[in-house]
Symmetry: C2
Subunit: 501 residues, 2 copies
């Protein structure tokens, strides 16, 4: 049927959608969420149907096109297009198969992931896929196939001969910015380590947000290749190089139901490692309430799976379980965390010792794991990398290579001008941190959107405090955001438990 | 935060949606599909967030409102509203619980259904609910609770004292319009039968579409009550009286994945019976390829469940399994089916005997089941109701009561002026009908949108045919639709298998 284009001036940001007047849809015998094939001058677009009930939104004889469809067809308001029934993607049948509890083979898995990446599925279809994976689970073979499919539907970066190191932290622990210390340490030891990091989703800072305080984190691929050769590696935002892009789209649907399907999580993480051609991976698994693994048993279960999937992808995995029940370092938020990292790298005694010690242990583990030093010699070697200034020098090389100032002074990085200091409501011993509350306070103060926003912690668990003693300071760029953070403290409490003695 | 309303001039037709510029959403730390609370002059609306990437669609400081939200707030373009984080409905937690394989209690089930009916859930949440029910299934107690929740979130119609009969056919068999014969027969026998019927979703005619050929099928509730008292009943479109409205919304999501969760189907059907306060129900279950029950064993399984759920709702259920592998009657499409029904009711020898015989059996079964005649006397009594003209007189009362012409002449009902006769491609015996292909041909010809469109069958299974002999005629209102039907015949075949002798 010939119809006239109406430019709806709206973007879904995702799946292609067209809107028909309900009487036209009835006439064509197509239902909401059916596929419609729209063509013009040899260009074709398969889009999902939405219905307009009024002539005002979409008149009879017209078809409303969202921006994505207009772009695909290179069509403009008033153009004439041909509208027909479209085919539902084959992957919808495979999603149905998984809903029925059957296992999917690689080709079926690939078809689903490919359609996800190319925005060909509706929310209903995507949610059904996520729900099916969640309820029926995936066996190891399926997780591996999904990992491969997620990898191959994005970019895969290669760096020439030799082992490639990688580190990954599962997240959930505020201030745990070890990556920015460990990566330069390992590079200083002569390893190649192309680190692609993420931005924060629900936390006050991701590694990419924090690194961005020091230098750009979005670099073209040829530049990345040159850096691996010259400097040994980099720390960039992975989102800019399109690694395993299915991940973001799946997270978008998991988020509203707080679903975190284990198989999907394993595949998402390992796909990103396969996408940077890692050969050796150090996996940090925090344990504690609010972490993906609440107990040691759960952590070991995850560790086992990472190792197993790694074997099939030819990635040797070393897992490190650690206590994730309280923040690490002093700063939470991009500027404050960057300060912590630089101070540790520069051997500044003001640098947080917990971050320093954890980074040394991680580096030691990795050096021994990759055969860069004899068993038992890792700790000394790692400490030496810091003490000698080699790690800081490697970090300067990375910062300079990515276009930042290698002589950055941590004291010149200033948190936001609006501050509020939260004080101990009573005397006693700090017994627990509520990581999620503290993260929320940091976010409401503006982090990571405002790099200078965040929380500076003065105390750790086990510390004795007097009544009225400062526990942390919240920094914000402006008064409004500081107000929002204070409201959050009132609503959730300060996030720190103190037990009177 | 105070924001300015932008009228988007679009209706979702369902869930309430607002659109923020992505930078405003980031600033407020809310994500797509999160809930937003919008308020103005004491009115409040909780809506789902969509993101606009361009300032053109939604400028900074503005909030785009879909029609549903504008109505709820009585807001207009340019008004100032307050925008805050909104709470996710509690039912999302219960959906999550079901996804985790746990059973839901009545209150949880009710909360979900209530939010579905009131458009408070996103497609992702609704699809997750449907997928969870499908993959984990429901036990009998859950199905009964769901049935009650679906009933009580819509209207419940009551008719005073005494037993209330009802009939229901599961569908899938073209031309099976027994309801329009059986209902007047049972009313003629003195029963009360307030029949709410559905319109076609994927078939060329529903009972409501066919009845509408003869009279209006949308009546106000007081009028319905009066008809039950005066005439004994009616045949109307159930959609107009808002019975178990969750059903349509759930179907919308099941459709794209061709999911038909058994528990959901049982609950949807039985909720509609409970909504009309039925006490005795005759359930027609067709058996055959393409039917919900392919085999007798599957049919008996469904029958058992209907009986069991009925017991808890105080509805006595009598199930009737029958061969659904070929169309019933001659006409397929509203006008053609109405002709068949009237001819049977008027004892016209031109009326289709299969429709007549099946209606007699159904009526007989129901009369014996409800104790209106001795066991074994049902067939004679039912035949007499037709022969005496009592059934036709009851039908005239119904037609007149609903505002139609009680003296309608079946010959004055004419199918569409554009016709094509499909002929036997070879000589032989008719061995099978492809119900879905024939339904599709009828739909493409314009049924049920155009009442006069449809398919008139000349042959049944087992008939011997000569090469070139007419098998059926397709009728359409206009040439275009006839062309679409012919294309369908070319694509799917004629829908009738003939075996050469």
């Amino acid at each position: 049927m010939k119809m006239t284009v109406k430019d709806l001036d709206i973007s879904t940001g995702d799946v292609m959608v067209v809107v028909l007047n309900e009487r036209d849809a009835e006439r064509m015998d197509i239902h909401p969420m059916d596929r419609v094939l729209v063509s013009m001058n040899g260009r074709k677009a398969v889009a999902v149907l939405d219905i307009a009930e009024s002539e005002r939104a979409v008149p009879l004889g017209s078809i409303g096109l969202m921006e994505e469809v207009l772009d695909e067809l290179q069509a403009r308001d008033g153009d004439s297009v041909t509208v027909e029934h479209g085919e539902r993607p084959k992957s919808v049948g495979y999603i149905r198969k998984k809903l029925d509890g059957k296992q999917l083979n690689y080709d079926e898995m690939f078809a689903i992931v490919d359609d996800i990446v190319n925005s060909r599925l509706t929310d209903v279809e995507l949610a059904s896929y996520v729900a099916a994976n969640y309820t029926h689970g995936m066996n190891l073979r399926e997780v591996i196939d999904l990992t491969k499919a997620m990898t191959l539907t994005g970019n895969v970066l290669t760096w020439g001969q030799g082992p490639i190191a990688d580190v990954h932290g599962i997240g959930g622990v505020p201030g745990n910015r070890t990556t920015m210390v460990v990566v330069p340490m390992l590079i200083a030891a002569g390893l190649k380590l192309p680190k692609t990091a993420s931005r924060a989703i629900t936390s006050p800072a991701g590694t990419a947000d924090t690194m961005e305080v020091l230098c750009p984190v979005t670099l073209p691929v040829p530049k990345l290749k040159a850096m691996v050769q010259k400097v040994g590696g980099f720390i960039i935002w992975g989102g800019a190089v399109n690694l395993a892009p299915a991940d973001d789209r799946i997270i978008r649907v998991e988020h509203p139901l707080s679903i975190d399907a284990e198989g999907q999580m394993l595949a998402s993480i390992m796909a990103k490692k396969a996408s940077v051609s890692a050969t050796h991976l150090l996996m940090e698994i925090p344990l504690g309430p609010g972490c993906k693994a609440a107990t040691r048993a759960e952590g070991e279960h995850l560790a086992h799976h990472f190792t197993e999937i790694g074997e099939h992808l030819k990635i040797k995995v070393r897992n490190m379980l650690f206590d994730g029940s309280q923040p690490i370092g002093r700063g939470i938020g991009p500027v404050l965390e960057a300060q912590d990292c630089i101070r540790v790298l520069k051997n500044d005694p003001a640098g947080p010792q917990d971050l320093r010690n954890k980074s040394i242990r991680m580096t030691a583990t990795m050096l021994e794991f990759m055969g860069r030093c004899p068993k038992g010699a890792g700790l000394a070697r790692a400490t030496e990398l810091l003490k000698s200034g080699a790690a800081w020098k490697a970090m300067q090389g990375i910062i300079e290579g990515q276009g930042g100032d290698p002589n950055v002074n941590p004291d010149s990085l200033r948190p936001g001008p609006h501050a509020y200091t939260y004080r101990a409501p009573k005397a006693g011993i700090v017994t627990a941190f509520h990581n999620k509350s503290i993260a929320r306070i940091g976010r409401m103060a503006g982090a990571p959107r405002d790099k200078e926003a965040g929380v500076l912690l003065y105390r750790h668990r086990g510390d004795r405090v007097a009544k009225g003693e400062p526990l942390y300071t919240v920094y914000a760029k402006n008064k409004t955001d500081l107000g929002l953070a204070l409201e959050t403290i009132e609503r959730l409490g300060g996030g720190i438990d103190i037990k009177a003695r």
